[in-house]
């Protein structure tokens, strides 16, 4: 029996290793080759940082990066605020149509992004006159990011002990003071976690952004796509590495905040 168990765990271990390797190999290759001096970025010719230097000098890339960061930043702030309020309302209030609202909030992320993108484009150009560019991109990003915030915060609220709020009010704190002193700080890790989840979600988005960006407004993913016609260049590797680094940083911070929030719910 023991030997069989050993064999099973060995096979499982091997399988896991293979799967992770399969998932990570392309990413690792990109990161490695971003430091290679090969002109096309497809093999190792020697260590260099010149592609990163080129990136810093590339105006188009810097423009696109800036746009992506601004969009993601605004999206994170607005989505988190709306998401927190929505989560709070859905959890604590009782009103007609609440069940409908709660289930329909998931629609923006469930729809195929091509459908959402196309629909938003028609909406911005035909129904309301929203200029294509920052306004349309940011609104679109808020649309598909807010549900994410709602879920994370709602999930945290399920484990929240509401008698804390009752105790605070019982001891003399008004509703606002209760939120400032008790609910807010306790929910903060969840709010931060949702913010850090939304950041890569918005930063990495391609399809919907491509539909609603219009002419001249390029985000970083759109820039990368537009470079495809020129074939592989090392700059793509560097941008790819940049994406990975930023996303990893966000996820690592979120991980630590989750751990902290878990120790609070005891």
């Amino acid at each position: 029996m023991r030997r069989k168990k050993d064999l099973t765990s060995k096979v499982l271990g091997g399988l896991s290793f293979f799967i992770y390797f399969f998932l990570w190999a392309p990413v690792i290759v990109i990161i490695v080759f971003s430091f290679s001096s090969n002109k096309y970025g497809v093999q190792w010719d020697g260590f260099t940082l010149k592609w990163y230097a080129a990136l810093l000098a590339n105006e188009a890339v810097k423009d696109a990066l800036m746009r992506s960061l601004i969009v993601a930043g605004v999206t994170v702030i607005v989505s988190t605020i709306i998401g927190t309020m929505t989560g709070y309302g859905l959890y604590k209030l009782h009103f007609k149509g609440k069940q409908f609202l709660r289930t329909s909030i998931v629609l923006p992320i469930v729809f195929p992004s091509v459908v959402t993108g196309a629909a938003l484009l028609v909406f911005f150009t035909r129904f309301i006159q929203i200029p294509l560019g920052y306004p349309s991109i940011i609104i679109a990003h808020i649309v598909f990011s807010t549900p994410l915030a709602v879920f994370v915060i709602l999930g945290r609220m399920q484990r929240f002990d509401w008698s804390w709020e009752e105790a605070a009010m019982d001891l003399g704190a008004t509703r606002i003071r209760t939120f400032m002193r008790v609910t807010g700080p306790t929910l903060f890790p969840a709010i931060a976690a949702s913010a850090l989840l939304i950041f890569p979600w918005s930063f990495d988005d391609f399809v919907i952004t491509y539909f609603v960006a219009g002419i001249g407004s390029t985000t970083l993913p759109i820039y990368v796509f537009s470079q495809l016609r020129f074939g592989a260049t090392p700059v793509l590797n560097t941008i790819g590495t940049l994406f990975v680094a930023l996303t990893m940083a966000a996820l690592v911070i979120m991980h630590f905040l989750q751990k902290k929030s878990e120790s609070i719910s005891a």
């Binding site: 105790a167 009010m169 001891l171 704190a173 008790v182 005891a266």
Partner: protein
């Protein structure tokens, strides 16, 4: 004892909490059904009842965490119906203590004082007084997750008491503690209450806790008060069948009154037995549902060749067969089957003061008690 608490203890005539005709309904359920009571300043008053009887709902109505559908609540003479919880002069100790997880013991205790905008030094002084009162010296900088259950409950108590409320509401505060700790905390609670003199309104489902802790008790079921009185009144003379069985007077004989004379009523049970009991003053004959008698009042003797005859007016007696003997060490609980009742009779036999006889299952016995111990029950 400080001067004010000494004064408060003697000032029993002044009403601290006045509840009048309060009703609270939820969809499909009337949780609190026309409830009225006046709680005196300085007393420990318990709301006693089984789960779901409405006692916690009533507490929440007083605290302001829920609003009643009708009726008035006055705290210290002030009508609080429309006041939010943070404006009412009462404080609640929750069953799960609800300590703020991100704050230390001092932070928790001082929470309400910060809301009152007291100066830092004043807060520090008041908090340390209360830390000493509840015996938590040395724990001031701990977080709730570093405290034991009993310690957490003490912090919750201090947190509410430091605000010197007119009345302290306790929602089954000891229910989550183990038995030994619960007994210790009961003693602590009583000591603290006597020291500060604040009125305590304690909600519990534990009869023993209510009996040992309270100055007065209200027994509650299905949203209504069934009986309000001192612990000895509630235990020794329960008014209804529910109160009697809830308080452990487990021997109940149902029946109808057939005659009444000389301050005694005669009850006829379903099986045709006649039981005499002292006639209560304020009850109509047709309101009476039966009588109860406490197990510790019953005398049990082996059936002899020429058994003693009893005068039913002075002694209620039956022949029976022992069903089971439960040995508890310092006393034994004996259940006896008698044909005059559907349910077995419970008898407590105390070691030491009882007779030195061994009882065993299947033994024929005579059970008897003074008829004046029969307590009349209303429907």
């Amino acid at each position: 004892m400080t001067e004010s608490s000494h004064r408060r203890k003697e000032d029993h005539s002044s009403v601290c909490l006045d509840i009048k005709d309060v009703v609270k309904r939820f969809p499909g359920l009337t949780a609190v059904d026309q409830v009225s009571v006046q709680i005196k300043e300085g007393e420990i008053f318990s709301l006693l009842g089984p789960s779901g009887c409405g006692k916690s709902t009533l507490l929440r109505l007083i605290a302001g965490l829920e609003n009643q559908d009708s009726g008035d609540i006055r705290i210290g003479g002030e009508l609080v119906n429309d006041l939010p919880p943070y404006k009412r002069d009462c404080s609640t100790v929750f069953q799960n203590h609800a300590l703020f997880p991100l704050m230390t013991v001092t932070g928790n205790i001082g929470f309400g004082l910060v809301e009152r905008r007291l100066s830092k030094s004043e807060i520090k002084k008041k908090v340390s007084e209360k830390v000493d009162l509840v015996d938590l010296g040395g724990m001031e900088d701990r977080r709730p997750d570093q405290l034991s259950g009993g310690q957490k409950q003490r912090v919750a108590l201090a947190r509410s008491l430091v605000l010197e409320p007119k009345i302290l509401l306790l929602d089954e505060p000891l229910a989550a503690l183990d038995r030994k700790l619960r007994k210790e905390m009961q003693v602590e609670l009583k000591r603290i209450q006597r020291e500060v003199g604040t009125t305590f309104l304690n909600v519990t489902h534990d009869q023993k806790e209510a009996l040992s802790l309270s100055d007065r008790i209200a027994v509650m079921n299905e949203g209504k008060f069934l009986q309000i009185g001192t612990p000895d009144e509630i235990y020794e003379t329960p008014r209804t069948v529910f109160v009697a069985s809830f308080m452990g007077a487990s021997n109940i004989f149902s029946g109808k009154v057939t005659s009444k004379r000389d301050g005694k009523i005669e009850l006829e049970t379903k099986q045709g037995s006649r039981i005499f009991a002292p006639a209560p003053e304020d009850v109509e004959d047709d309101e009476i549902a039966g009588v109860s008698v406490h197990p510790e009042m019953i005398r049990i003797e082996p059936l002899e060749e020429n058994p003693q005859q009893f005068d039913a007016e002075k002694h209620t007696a039956f022949r029976g067969v022992i069903k089971e003997v439960f040995y508890q060490g310092n006393f034994s609980e004996i259940t006896v089957l008698i044909k005059e009742s559907d349910l077995p009779l419970a008898v407590f036999l105390t070691r030491g003061t009882g007779p030195e006889v061994q009882f065993s299952e299947g033994q024929d016995v005579i059970v008897s008690w003074e008829s004046r111990r029969n307590n009349v029950l209303r429907k």
